[in-house]
Symmetry: C2
Subunit: 92 residues, 2 copies
DNA sequence: ATGGCTATTTATAAGTC
DNA sequence: TGACTTATAAATAGCCA
């Protein structure tokens, strides 16, 4: 989406990588917000830049998203394997 | 991005909402993958549809993202308020 | 519900200042 | 190092043989 077509592979030049990161990070956050509103969805997005900095967005709160994620994973595990131990399975 | 311009507000018609959800969900997952690759970032995305179904993507694993998120939040808290208790602060 | 199709809107790669 | 600009690629809204 720009003056030229690009291939999806790591951008070697670190300055270009930072510029692209900043632009696309804004884009994806916007998309996340729109999805939440348009479709009445709960969305959580966590991004660590290559320099290790954290960026986050949650349509509700990140705690709510992570808690719900954990519960959903436990449920999935329970359905898939009713006799297994709970917890610890939402890692993968 | 389509035949008509839309306003970003909840789509009332549930069938349209589902269709839009499915299309945009694919779009944002693609964007998340591209961001991870192009910019060498670690990305985690969790989406619950309005019907409560979970969709997820992580460039590494969700466990890795959530763990790292927790550590980053603890660090932020520590920097902001050196004498406070740790843990429990990454909720908000 | 589902999967194409394309006119149109939107995102963004390069470029400019 | 950002903040703008713009040509072009990409996403998608509305439709449907």
């Amino acid at each position: 989406m720009g003056r030229g077509k690009i291939v999806i592979r790591r951008i070697d030049n670190s300055t270009s990588r930072q510029v692209t990161f900043s632009k696309r990070r804004n884009g994806i956050f916007k998309k996340a917000k729109e999805l939440g509103i348009l479709c009445d969805a709960e969305v959580g997005l966590v991004i660590f830049s290559s320099t290790g900095r954290l960026y986050e967005y949650a349509s509700s709160s990140m705690k709510s998203v992570i808690d719900r994620y954990g519960r959903a994973k436990e449920e999935q595990q329970l359905v898939a394997n009713p006799n297994s131990e709970l917890k610890l399975y939402w890692f993968f």
